[in-house]
């Protein structure tokens, strides 16, 4: 039996003057003990709603969920004694110091003040916040806030950790730092459910990825399995001038085994049967048609390709570029 299990979760909202939104539309999920599962999907796919149901913040309209056999809907108080949650908005008290925030959380877990103090000290150390621990959080950088928030989720050393877009909005360096922390937690055997819209993040941290779109899991597997399911090699051409897009699209369509797609405005990708041969012919064709290339190469499918294939649209903000190029 999986450590964390969600079955057929449905949650609908009715915004004023708008049709019903099915935030969760029969979402099911299984997370084995000691593993990291990533929920991967664009904004509005239902990732945060899933986490909110599992962390007892909202009740689904229907469906069920258990954590280590405890029914999340029937026994939320017991669930709250075994989870830690850290969200994309660092939920810390701005006016309290880092240390005071952790103390407060420990006290609210009813650890007793001696244990709460000891644990806060440990976490400050672990998250490298010793220097800032006695300053109010309002003076912290974005990365430090996330760290203190994540530390708050770890106060009781929970067996299950929920990380809702832990690195959204962070600069690359802070992101890398947070990834290293999460990796060290995972190596200790904590069961983690992570949501992210960054394919790279899921690829790096997760044992298993559930791709979700419109409130449902549309695919799941390891990063490699998902990439393999899309299959084969790709040829990618980056043009110098965006106006050459149509020409490149035509060339790739003739040599590829699928529909060419554009990412980032100027890079066109198509699945091919024989990578090296296809690459040679498309470069030759581009040269013959006078299309200036910035870059040309073969690549393995990425999770971006997986997402695109499964949902028909690109993850993250590149939505617009596909729209305009199509």
């Amino acid at each position: 039996m999986p450590f964390l299990e969600a079955s057929e979760l449905v949650k609908t909202y009715t915004p004023k003057g708008a049709p019903v939104v099915r935030a969760l539309d029969g979402l099911s999920l299984e997370v084995p003990q000691g593993t990291v599962t990533a929920l991967l999907g664009p904004n509005g796919a239902g990732k945060t709603t899933t986490v909110k149901v599992l962390t007892t913040l909202i009740r689904p309209d229907s469906g069920s969920a258990t954590i280590d056999g405890v029914d999340v809907l029937a026994d939320p108080d017991r669930v709250r004694r075994m989870i830690g949650a850290s969200g994309q908005y660092a939920a810390v008290d701005e006016n309290l110091t880092g240390f005071e925030n952790l103390m407060m959380v420990g006290r609210l877990y009813h650890l007793g003040s001696r244990v709460a103090r000891q644990r806060a000290t440990e976490l400050i150390e672990l998250f490298d916040l010793a220097e800032a621990q006695n300053r109010p959080v309002k003076g912290y950088s974005g990365g430090m806030r996330r760290r203190i928030d994540l530390a708050g989720a770890l106060v009781i050393r929970p067996p299950v950790l929920f990380l809702d877009e832990p690195t959204t909005g962070l600069d690359p360096r802070s992101r890398l730092g947070l990834w290293e922390i999460i990796e060290s937690l995972v190596s200790d055997g904590t069961t983690v459910l992570l949501t992210t819209q960054y394919l790279e993040e899921a690829d790096r941290l997760a044992d298993s990825i559930s791709v979700i779109d419109e409130g449902r899991v549309i695919a799941k597997g390891t990063a490699d399995e998902l990439k393999a399911s899309v299959g084969g090699q790709r040829v990618a051409l980056t043009v110098v001038d965006e106006a050459d897009g149509d020409a490149v699209r035509g060339i790739l369509a003739r040599h590829g085994t699928g529909e060419p797609v554009v990412t980032g405005g100027r890079t066109w990708v198509v699945p091919v049967a024989d990578g090296p041969a296809a690459l040679a012919s498309v470069v030759a064709a581009a040269s013959a048609e006078g299309v200036a290339l910035h870059d040309a190469g073969m690549r393995r499918p990425t999770l971006d390709d997986v997402f695109l294939q499964l949902t028909g649209h690109v993850a993250e903000e590149s939505d617009e570029t596909t729209g305009s190029a199509a």
Partner: protein
């Protein structure tokens, strides 16, 4: 919970790193009541720290009543003729009432702000009492109000306000003012959670508070108001609060006619009934609202 503990035994790697090595921390033993009290204290402490760390709150809390005492005493005091000890004595109960009612609006904006910041979400994933969060918040208002009462009394004393009653009556008057404001904090806390926007709740509170504090006997005797306003003022619970405080501080001007409405005749009973009704309605309503609240 033992299954969780045994599950955690997998943490054999990374000895100096943390998390798994010692198993999940269990709560210290304690009864449900002691936990509730502890949660209430921790959240009250959090709100008191906010008063200490955000000097603007304290500054405005202190300056506004001082300004009101001085403005009303010297600007209106000259124009409004009150028999007996004069306008300052008459005014002070009104300023007290207005200030503590205004002070109780912090709960509205603070709940909305905490919701927006995600702190409510954090609290709600903890095995703590939701009601305690509201108790802590309304206690914060109580602390602010108690502080501003002290500042106002000192200011009032300087400009000539005197208590003409016994110590028990004086203390009863102070308690009644704080109690009414405390009950009103629960109303504002509920509205803050319902509206969810700190900006909207701030502006909306002024739309409610100005009429209910000004269309009352707080600043002018209500019998001098035009008829419809006079009726409103006589039934206005803030008038009952002001009248109660005036009576308990011995500041009722001699020969003041008392309105015919029941609240005007029985101000202290009216305030107590008002407090009970507000608490009976808004405490359960707020607790229920909190239990489903999320960002």
């Amino acid at each position: 919970m033992s299954t969780i503990g045994s599950g955690r035994a997998t943490g054999t790697t990374a000895p100096e790193s943390d998390s798994g090595a010692h198993g999940t921390l269990e709560p210290a033993p304690g009864s449900a009541i002691s936990r509730f009290l502890s949660d209430g204290w921790v959240t009250t402490w959090r709100n008191l720290m906010k008063i200490i760390r955000v000097p603007e709150i304290l500054l405005f809390t202190m300056i506004q009543p001082i300004m009101f005492v001085l403005l009303f005493t010297y600007v209106f005091g000259a124009a409004i003729d009150i028999p007996g000890d004069g306008y300052t004595s008459f005014l002070m109960a009104g300023i007290f009432a207005q200030t503590v009612v205004f002070g109780s609006t912090y709960s509205g904006s603070a709940m909305a702000q905490d919701l927006k910041d995600g702190i409510i979400d954090r609290f709600r994933t903890l095995p703590m009492s939701g009601a305690a969060v509201l108790v802590g918040r309304t206690n914060g208002d109580l602390a602010i109000n108690a502080l501003s009462m002290i500042v106002m009394m000192i200011t009032g004393w300087i400009v000539g306000w005197r208590v003409n009653s016994s110590l028990p009556e004086f203390l009863a008057g102070v308690a009644l003012l704080l109690l009414f404001a405390y009950a009103f904090s629960w109303v504002m806390a509920y509205l803050g959670m319902a509206v969810k926007s700190p900006e909207i709740i701030n502006n909306a509170s002024f739309l409610i508070l100005f009429p209910i504090t000004f269309i009352s006997n707080a600043f002018v005797p209500s019998e001098r108001l035009p008829e419809p306003l006079r009726v409103f003022a006589e039934w206005n619970p803030v008038s009952a609060l002001v009248q109660s405080a005036r009576e308990l501080f011995g500041n009722v001007p001699p020969g003041t006619p008392v309105g015919d409405a029941w609240p005007a005749q029985n101000p202290i009973a009216t305030v107590l009934i008002g407090v009970v009704v507000l608490l009976l309605v808004f405490v359960p309503l707020s607790i229920r609202k909190f239990a489903t609240l999320s960002r």
